[in-house]
C-alpha cells in the first residue's frame, strides 16, 4: 500500500490468523490486541449460493457473517489489524476479501487435530500468501518436534514452524515477529532472483 502521511493518515497493515475451529484464533487475537466487532451482511456470491440452502427462502440474497478483528495502534502511526478467518466452510468467500493486502498469515495448529488446518494451508499455498505454522501448545497435548510436524503437514522446508501459547502475550508477539521476518526474507529472495 501507499504510505501517505501528508494528511496525518495512519499506515495500515493486516495479518490473517487462520486454522481450524477451536484452535485458539480468537484467544491469540485477544491476547495481543484490542478486539472490535465487525458486521458483514454480504450479498451471496456464487461460492456461497448452493452452500447456503435457500430453498423455501427465495428472498434471501445476503448472508451474515459476524466476526471480530484485532487492532494494535503503534506510536509510529501504524495500525496493525489481525483478522481471524471464519472457520465454517460456508464462509470461504470471505477469505478472498480478507486476503487482499494482507502481509501474510499465521496458521494455528493443534497437534491433537492436525488435519483441521489442512484447508487453511491449501488455501494460502494456492493463493501464494506467505504463511507460517504456529503450533498452539495446549496443556496436555502431545509435544512434537517441528520437523515431525513439518512431515505431518507435508510442508516445504522453507515454511517456518513455531511453537506458541496463544494465551501468552510474549509468545504471540514472537509468532507475529516470525511471520513478518519470513515475509521480509521472502521478498529479499525474490528481489535477488529477479536481479540475477
Amino acid at each position: 500500500m501507499d504510505l501517505n502521511h501528508s494528511d496525518g493518515a495512519p499506515s495500515t497493515a493486516k495479518i490473517l490468523i487462520s486454522g481450524g475451529f477451536g484452535v485458539g484464533k480468537t484467544t491469540l487475537v485477544g491476547t495481543i490486541s484490542e478486539i472490535r466487532p465487525l458486521r458483514t451482511e454480504e450479498p451471496m456470491s456464487d461460492r456461497s449460493v448452493g452452500i447456503d440452502d435457500t430453498r423455501g427462502v427465495r428472498a434471501k440474497t445476503t448472508t451474515t457473517v459476524a466476526m471480530d478483528f484485532g487492532r494494535i495502534s503503534f506510536p509510529s502511526g501504524l495500525v496493525l489489524y489481525l483478522f481471524g478467518t471464519p472457520g465454517q466452510e460456508r464462509f470461504w468467500f470471505m477469505w478472498d476479501e480478507l486476503s487482499i493486502g494482507a502481509i501474510g498469515a499465521v496458521v494455528l495448529a493443534d497437534t491433537r487435530r492436525a488435519a483441521d488446518c489442512f484447508a487453511a494451508i491449501d488455501y494460502f499455498e494456492r493463493s501464494g500468501m506467505p504463511f507460517i505454522i504456529a503450533v498452539n501448545c495446549f496443556d496436555g497435548a502431545p509435544r512434537f518436534e517441528p520437523d515431525d510436524i513439518r512431515i505431518a503437514l507435508s510442508l516445504g522446508p522453507e515454511v517456518p514452524i513455531v511453537l506458541c501459547d496463544a494465551r501468552q502475550r510474549d509468545s504471540v508477539k514472537q509468532v507475529l515477529v516470525s511471520l513478518v521476518r519470513y515475509v521480509m526474507s521472502g521478498n529479499r529472495r525474490r528481489n535477488q532472483i529477479s536481479m540475477a
Partner: protein, 127 residues
C-alpha cells in the same frame, strides 16, 4: 411472573434488532457505484467538497462523513457505525462519486513495501 418482569422481558431500541433489512438504507444496492473500491484497511477521508444540490444524503451518509473528518480505515469506520461492511461500501461509493470522500491509501498485493514491513516489525518488537 410479575408485571415488572414481563416489562423487562420486552426488547427495546437496539436490543430489538434492526427495524429495516440491512440493504434498505442503500435502497437495495449491494455494490458501490463509481470507480472507487474500499478495501478493509484502506484509509478514507471526507473532503471539503460541498454536497451537490441534486444529491439527497441519508442519515447514514452523514454519519460516515462526520466519522471520516479524520483519516479513517474502512474497517474502523464500519465497526464504529455498526452497519454491515457491504452497506458501508455502497454509502462510501455514493459519497466518493460526488468527490465528498476520497481514498487516501489502498492495499496492494502482494505486500512488498519494505518500509511498511519494517514499521510492522519494529512496532511488534517494541510491544
Amino acid at each position: 411472573m410479575t408485571g415488572h418482569d414481563s416489562y423487562r422481558d420486552r426488547w427495546f431500541d437496539r436490543e430489538a434488532g434492526p427495524v429495516v433489512r440491512p440493504y434498505a438504507v442503500t435502497k437495495g444496492r449491494t455494490l458501490p457505484s463509481g470507480e472507487a473500491s474500499f478495501g478493509l484497511i484502506d484509509v478514507v477521508i471526507a473532503t471539503s467538497e460541498r454536497q451537490p444540490e441534486f444529491l439527497r444524503l441519508g442519515p447514514e451518509h452523514r454519519r460516515i462523513l462526520s466519522l471520516c473528518r479524520r483519516p479513517t480505515p474502512v474497517v474502523d469506520l464500519t465497526s464504529d457505525i455498526d452497519l454491515p461492511l457491504g452497506v458501508v461500501r455502497v454509502l462510501l461509493g455514493d459519497l466518493a462519486s460526488e468527490g465528498m470522500v476520497r481514498v487516501l491509501s489502498t492495499q496492494k498485493q502482494p505486500v512488498t513495501d519494505e518500509r511498511l514491513l519494517r514499521m510492522v516489525l519494529d512496532g511488534l518488537e517494541s510491544l
